[in-house]
């Protein structure tokens, strides 16, 4: 945000902040050790507002739970923004000095009165007003989010609508205040930082910037294609159009993880060539023409990963790779050399030392420093730099340290792409649980005593209306497909909302149900909002339902 792709705060700051807005994140289960830091903050007296359609285990620790309807985050954020402005709680001097676009923003949120916000989101007006007051008047405050914000067809606008609140109140760029997207994978931050994005070079530099490109071309002694590539969702569109015919998949399992997965599988099957490099024989790998067995990066190879607080840390080899598996770097290097590129063989250390000559964010992170420290947080531009605890302190400098002011944005409330209907009257949302992870490539390897498998969680009211009880076998259908699952009745959900995980695709193909409508700017599919129906299966057929994974 504001030109850098990373959370603005460090974990330490959540232990010292005054107000926490946990928005679309069940960190208690998805980021448990970050939640320990958050709990220290609560113990110290911080107030927490949990914004989530479900009353999650994280929400249980909140002072107030705002159970908004799925896909109404922009409406809620705009209502909070309007309330802050109407009460004159906004930080006028900060807005004046550090931002642009306030008038347009203020005009755009004007219709979002508390009553209108309550009508659109389902959250009581008093709760919205209370959160607006707490956030705006706190000495320090943070907004944290995860995929509850980004897995919508309005992903980018959802994020921007939260950024607006920070700009309105000056809760960014100061110690303790900030905007924090919690990263879901151990190196999703590092992957993006290293240029594993269609429009970025290593060091998060823009591919279309000729100066940046030229620096890389000089070191790499080659000419770079200046045209940004396609993100994952656009690749599938391109497959559909018959343009993209060969795919090299590294460490991703789209045949299980894509929304509307039946459609994705069909497209993968239609490719001329599918190459998969992974640590296990995932469903995608089982469809591949060629499988390149990879060593587990965190336990069998040397390198770095970057965490949610922008901390670059070393991973180290502790055990040899399984069977014929090899280090990812070696596989990619060998492949390049087989294709005739004169790439030298290089160790992780050599690659890193090259990277830091090219990426100003990482310039001061020598391999030796990474080796001997507990990790360093970017930006760390030179050898004596201690790393950066929080981002965007320039927002508080008199002349903005030469930066252009941070822009407010106008974000329109648009409901989920798939409306509920008589045929599909229930809203399905998806998420993670504590002991499992994504499509289970890693987490299915251990036996968890608290594992329940992918059940369909149903509110008591809907369960009563459907005539089902806990453990009953049901058939869940969306416009895209049907799966049999075991029902789990829980008071965590309001009527009309159902929930499932997607950790056991070999048992329950939950992504047959999810919607692949996607956000045009980020390419993220709307995993969080599908329309479904639930039909009870005859009693006694639970075994046939295949719902209870173990």
């Amino acid at each position: 945000m504001f030109g850098l792709g990373g959370g603005t705060c460090s974990y330490q700051e959540i232990t010292e902040t005054d107000v926490i807005l946990l928005w679309g994140s069940n960190a208690r289960e998805a980021h448990p050790i970050f939640f320990h830091h958050l709990l220290r903050g609560l113990k110290r007296g911080a107030e927490m507002y949990a914004v989530d359609p479900r009353r999650t285990s994280s929400a249980e620790f909140a002072d107030v739970w705002l159970g908004l309807d799925v896909g109404t985050d922009i409406a809620l954020a705009n209502t909070v923004g309007r309330e802050i402005i109407a009460r004159r709680w906004h930080n006028e001097s900060f807005i004046e000095r550090a931002t642009i676009g306030f008038e347009d923003y203020a005009a755009s949120v004007e219709p979002f009165t508390l009553d209108e916000g309550a009508r659109l989101t389902g959250v009581p007006a008093e709760a919205i007003a209370e959160m607006a007051h707490a956030y705006a008047t706190a000495p320090t405050a943070q907004i944290l989010w995860t995929l509850g914000i980004t897995e919508h067809h309005t992903a980018v606008e959802n994020v921007l609508s939260l950024c607006n609140l920070a700009l309105l109140t000056g809760h960014v760029g100061r110690r303790g205040s900030g905007l924090v997207p919690l990263r879901g994978q151990n190196n999703v931050q590092g992957g993006g930082d290293m240029g594993a994005l269609p429009d970025r070079l290593p060091g998060f530099q823009r591919l279309v910037d000729p100066e940046a490109r030229e620096r890389y071309e000089r070191v790499w002694d080659c000419e770079l294609n200046p045209v940004p590539g396609k993100h994952l969702t656009a690749m599938f569109e391109s497959m559909e159009e018959g343009e993209l015919r060969a795919l090299y998949v590294i460490g991703e399992n789209p045949a299980d993880s894509e929304a509307n997965v039946a459609h994705a599988r069909k497209l993968l099957e239609g490719l001329d060539l599918l190459v998969v490099q992974d640590i296990s024989l995932t469903r995608t790998a089982r469809m591949a023409d060629v499988v390149l067995p990879a060593a587990a990066g965190w336990s069998s190879s040397e390198g770095t990963v970057t965490s949610s607080e922008r901390r670059v840390q070393r991973v180290r080899a502790a055990v040899p790779p399984q069977g014929d598996a090899r280090d990812d770097v070696r596989i990619i290097g060998d492949l390049a050399r087989h294709m005739g590129a004169p790439w030298p063989t290089a160790t992780a250390e050599e690659l890193w030392e090259e990277l830091r000559t090219l990426s100003p964010l990482h310039g001061g992170m020598s391999w030796d420093r990474l080796e001997s420290s507990g990790g360093l947080q970017w930006p760390c531009p030179h050898d004596d730099h201690p790393g950066t605890e929080f981002l965007h302190s320039w927002l508080w400098a008199d002349d903005l340290d030469g930066h252009t002011p941070a822009p407010f944005t106008v974000n329109e409330h648009r409901p989920p792409a798939e409306a509920l209907s008589e045929q599909f009257p229930l809203r399905l949302t998806t998420g993670r649980v504590l002991d499992s992870y994504n499509t289970g490539a890693q987490s299915s390897g251990y036996s968890s005593p608290i594992r329940t498998g992918d059940t369909i969680e149903v509110s008591p009211a809907d369960a009563a209306a459907l005539g089902i009880t806990d453990g009953d076998a049901v058939r869940v259908s969306s416009p895209r497909g049907s799966v049999n699952m075991e029902a789990s009745v829980t008071g965590r959900l309001p009527a009309g909302l159902v929930f499932t995980t997607f950790h056991f695709p070999d048992l329950v193909d939950a992504n047959l149900l999810t919607n692949d409508a996607w956000d045009a700017r980020s390419g993220t599919a709307e995993f969080k909002a599908a329309a479904v129906r639930i039909d009870p299966l005859r009693s006694g057929s639970a075994a046939a339902a295949g719902g209870a994974g173990g």
């Binding site: 499988v291 069977g323 608290i450 799966v483």
Partner: protein, 311 residues
């Protein structure tokens, strides 16, 4: 060095066995001992937990204090004259170690065994002394509790439990905030229990293993270690420790992979790491087993999804 509230703390100077040492105000006598290079036995203390003051093995003599004081929790005060090796201290520490050893199986508590040897603690002497005075042989009271093996992740052997409370602290508001365990029962029957003593998988436990990581006696033990010990294959001297980063979510928890014969046998986290403070979640602690699974075999359950259809 600034303290956590951002102010510069002042230093206090104490004398430990005649040696002067300065530590930041607010630090404990234990920290001062460590700074002075004086080793102190501890059982219920851990660097990442709040002191609970129950084991009394760390006691020291402070001039002017009527009773011995626990080093782990008493803040060092300017001018304190501290003795850590007086006869009174050595006698008290020896008694604590003997009492614990007389009631519990400490065969897997390596550190306690070292201190027992250091202080010449002989846990058997109470039984012997009692026998001399009575006509009949006296059986020494011993915690007798069968090993509880209720899942694949960790076991509980309460005959080794010295009730140091560290597991309770780690499960509670020192770290995990799950509150799955507490001390139940009184006197000799006091035990760490789940609610209503239900089996672990039925309890509130979320299997972070943070209790196991702080247990000083092996009363809580990772299943991998328990199984290897059962076949005589637990060989700490042959183990290597490699520090890396967890492969799951993006928090960046540092892991110490303990490996033996090129296999992971235990996962811990450094107590001084800024991200974890030594604590992990179930995935980081136990989710590593896939790296030793037979690689590249399709799951046995593949056909189970056959009942699903697309429309």
């Amino acid at each position: 060095m600034t303290s956590s509230n951002g102010s510069i703390g002042s230093q206090v100077t104490v004398s430990i066995d005649g040696q002067e040492v300065s530590v930041p105000e607010g630090q404990t006598i234990l920290a001062a001992c460590t700074a002075a290079g004086v080793e102190t036995p501890t059982i219920c203390w851990a660097p990442n937990l709040t002191p609970v003051n129950v084991c009394r093995v760390c006691v020291v003599e402070v001039e002017g204090s009527r009773t011995l004081v626990p080093a782990c929790s008493r803040p060092a005060a300017d001018g304190m004259q501290i003795s850590t090796d007086s006869e009174r201290v050595r006698h008290s520490r020896r008694m604590v170690l003997e009492f614990l050893g007389s009631a519990n199986d400490l065969s897997q508590a390596a550190e306690i065994a070292e201190w027992s040897q250091h202080y010449g603690a002989d846990a058997g002497r109470y039984a012997a002394a009692l026998s001399d005075e009575s006509e009949t042989a006296v059986e020494i009271a011993h915690v007798d509790d069968p090993v509880r093996v209720q899942d694949d992740l960790y076991i509980r052997a309460y005959d080794r439990c010295v009730l140091c409370y560290k597991c309770v602290e780690a499960c509670g508001d020192d770290a995990q905030h799950t509150f799955a365990i507490a001390v139940a029962g009184r006197g000799f029957d006091a035990r760490i229990r789940t609610e209503y003593d239900v089996e672990l998988p039925e309890s509130a436990c979320v299997y972070c293993g943070n209790c196991v990581a702080v247990c000083p006696t092996g009363a809580l033990q990772f299943r991998t270690e328990f199984d290897l010990r059962a076949v005589g294959e637990w060989r700490p001297d042959d183990q290597e420790v490699t520090r890396t980063v967890c492969s799951y979510c993006g928090v960046g928890c540092n892991l110490e992979l303990h490996t033996q014969d090129e296999r992971i046998v235990k996962v811990t986290s450094p107590a001084d790491h800024s991200v974890t403070s030594g604590h992990l979640c179930i995935k980081g602690r136990f989710g590593w087993q896939y790296v030793h699974a037979p690689a590249f075999e399709p799951p046995a359950t593949e056909s189970a999804a056959a009942d699903s259809t697309e429309t």
